[in-house]
């Protein structure tokens, strides 16, 4: 499996998903060789370092840790690939004038664990290709039955491994270029994505929404595209106690402040709600390229005393933020899945999600609105604030629904996909 970050340094949804999936698969007796990019800097970059699984630090207690570890081996590949990066950003950050501190900031921004060694090329595509070469080497040296690659940066690696070994390739689409960039897609990225999907024996998508994109926009045969919804693992989930400094109710947006996440709709809806209700505050937690524009808009609307920005939150602060919230809103314009509403629901926070998110397919009771429909969004916010019955029900059903989403079940479906791929149907 060509995956991403692993505990304890989990940052984005991709890392969480890889982790949960691996654990789920291990329970179904699937043995996994986990390959992930990691640039720790001083390692010999030509070599592939094999990390003994028992050296990988685990912080949580997993009841059946031994059997899990027996089934998962880890390979760390020296590479400065990070999740959620696009070629433009990469060249911006890897560009000639890049200093370590700038990269550190970037790291914080994207919450990834890898350190930049400064030894690599400035071109992301080159890096992807390097990674694929390493993947081929790994494929030659190890035995396995099926190859599983997560998101476009590892597709090339998956293809290389397939060519070398002749084993079937399953690619897992967590997001497409259309989700990240709207209609202004980067054609290089699109081509790699499409190539991966064409070469793959099976394509797993995290939602039907994404499945449709894969079929319609990439022209992939519907027969080989399977939806396996993500799940959540809340074994280590702990509610944090916070001391709330304000009496007002708090409505939260938490995520990268980028086009994909639809921050502007949240702001407009907030302005509408504030016209009606005075004892409510809005929080936009996160950072991103639309942050400054959002701040200006908030100032223009004259609601800055009720609309707060926290900047990028990490670790415990995210939990604190959920604990602070009375309503959570995810107004994503395009969200392949979207794990954060589940975390919110688990934290007893009533949740509003956009219909354009994959998670809307598995949540029956969450309030769903079109991302562009700021009136409906404002209505929903107002309703959850003012009618206790509604928020109570939303909390209760939310927790039940979230608890029903188990990686074990998702992993079983994925195992079926593997079997189908191996048998050639």
């Amino acid at each position: 499996m060509f995956g991403w970050e692993f505990p304890p340094h989990i940052a984005g949804g991709l890392g969480t998903a890889c982790y949960g999936l691996t654990k789920g698969l291990a329970k179904h007796d699937v043995e996994i060789l986990f390959v992930m990019p990691s640039a720790s800097g001083d390692e010999d970059q030509s070599a592939v370092k094999i990390v003994n699984a028992s050296d990988v630090p685990f912080t949580q207690s997993w009841s059946d840790m031994e059997s899990f570890l027996n089934r998962v081996d880890f390979l760390k590949v020296s590479s400065n690939l990070v999740p959620y990066i696009d070629p433009q950003l990469y060249s911006e950050y890897a560009g000639s004038a890049m200093t370590r501190s700038e990269y550190e900031q970037f790291k914080v921004k994207y919450g990834c664990k890898y350190r930049f060694s400064g030894k690599y090329g400035v071109n992301l595509m080159e890096e992807v290709a390097n990674y694929a070469m390493v993947a081929a080497t790994i494929a030659r040296e190890n035995t396995f039955d099926v190859i599983h690659a997560h998101d476009w940066l590892t597709y090339a690696a998956g293809i290389a491994a397939k060519r070398v070994s002749g084993k079937p390739l399953v690619i897992h689409v967590h997001a497409t270029e259309f989700d990240r960039s709207g209609e202004n897609v980067n054609s290089q990225v699109y081509n790699i994505e499409r190539m991966g999907m064409l070469e793959a024996d099976k394509v797993i998508t995290v939602s039907n929404l994404t499945r449709n994109i894969v079929i319609n926009k990439y022209g992939i045969d519907p027969k080989k595209v399977v939806t396996v919804h993500n799940a959540v693992d809340f074994n280590e989930f702990k509610q944090v106690d916070v001391h709330r400094g304000v009496r007002d109710k708090i409505i939260t947006f938490l995520g990268r402040i980028t086009f994909q996440k639809g921050p502007e709709y949240f702001i407009e809806a907030a302005a509408k709600v504030l016209k009606k209700v005075s004892d409510v505050r809005f929080v936009m937690a996160g950072s991103g390229d639309l942050m400054n524009r959002s701040i200006r808009r908030v100032a223009q609307l004259g609601i800055a005393d009720r609309f707060h920005f926290t900047g990028f939150l990490r670790g415990n602060d995210v939990k604190r933020m959920f604990a602070y919230s009375d309503v959570y809103v995810m107004p994503s314009v395009s969200e392949p899945f979207g794990i954060s509403p589940l975390e919110a629901m688990k934290s007893n926070v009533p949740t509003i999600i956009s219909k354009q998110s994959g998670v809307a397919e598995v949540l029956k009771y969450a309030i769903k609105v079109d991302f562009w429909d700021i009136d409906a969004m404002a209505d929903a916010m107002y309703g959850l604030l003012t009618y206790p019955a509604l928020s109570q029900m939303s909390i209760r059903c939310g927790v039940e629904e979230v608890n029903a989403l188990k990686w074990e079940n998702a992993a079983l479906k994925i195992k079926d996909v593997y079997t189908a791929a191996i048998n050639g149907n």
Binding site: R244, G245, A304, N348, Q392
Partner: protein
Amino acid sequence: MEKSLCFYFQVHQPDRLRLYRFFDIGNDSNYFDDFANRTILNRVAQRCYLPMNAILLELVKKYKGKFKVAFSISGVALEQFEKYNPAVLDSFRKLADTGCVEFLAETYSHSLASLKSEKEFETQVKLHAKAVKKYLGVTPTAFRNTELIYSDTIGEKVASMGYNVMLTEGAKHILGWKSPNYIYTNAINPRLKLLLKNFNLSDDIAFRFSDRSNPNWPLTSEKYADWLSKSEGNGDIINLFMDYETFGEHQSQSTGIFEFMKALPEAVLSRTNLKFRTPSEAAGLHQPVAPLHVPFAISWADEERDTSAWLGNELQNEAFNKLYAQQERVIKSKDEALIADFRKLQESDHFYYMCTKFFSDGAVHKYFNPYDTPYEAFINYMNVLSDFIVRVDRLSDKGKKAAVKESGKEPAAARSRKSSTKKTTAKK
């Protein structure tokens, strides 16, 4: 009659805010970065205030009344001196005692109140006069507004408060063909005389002194005195207004700025017919030539010489308006700590940090700004302001309850999440 040369130095240090996070709102009402404020104040005291005050004192004594200057020290700066470095206060006091140094009136917290609230403006001017009397033993008679902000109506207000001299910028777009080297009057109340900054000659010292790309570098006292003597023909007075931190801080000691000032009185007195005078003195001697119409506020900042450095974008306007929306309730609360914070949050510097005019005067802005971006400045300020408003709300709730003499306890202001959930259940 001999023409006047009028030096006025601005002394101000803001109360910089600490990094105030969203989670602090309602929980922590310490807004200020005491460490940074103390460190910066002590640094500037060592580099500028103490050595420069010593030089000025020496010059005043040496020329026995022929060398005069004026200062305006903001109230918050006086407060910081008392708190962190009382030696600076002593050295200013010594200057005041010579009688050759005038101290001007301004707003206590270096605020923009003149643009928003007459009442608050008046209160702050009075507070400042009281502080100057307390710390320096003199009562100011001439007025200068924050950043030399001036308009017809502000001038009228200042005149109504009993001041008959006010200092402002010799802004080109106001003066047109007129010279800043005369005394003008307020357009509404002709009794208020206006001294206008000669920005060319002022900036030669304040901004261009150490600029090696300037063809006139290095600037010597003799050369500068010759320039002054060239200007003296057309006008009555030359007003050189600048930040006091020019000496030793903006222009470091190594540029020779101290030597320049030490030699300047001699050069001026020997090469020109100018006499050093304080603003009040000069205004009493020279006749005003015309009223000056300033319908919109001007200032000494940036290329535009208007108020856009503080109130030029939506971030600044939003923060400014939200702050002053609290004024009435804050004053009514009579809560000293609250009012003190209200005044400190009015310091113009907070709004300056949110300025997005990078192109015309970006370098100057950057020098004075502790934040990386105006957006960060805005977020931080609004977080602080939100907490401040929470406090105002609590106090005014209390006030109302006291008014109706309701018995029982004030509900716990901050509730934990659990109890607030319970409350909703109970309502249901």
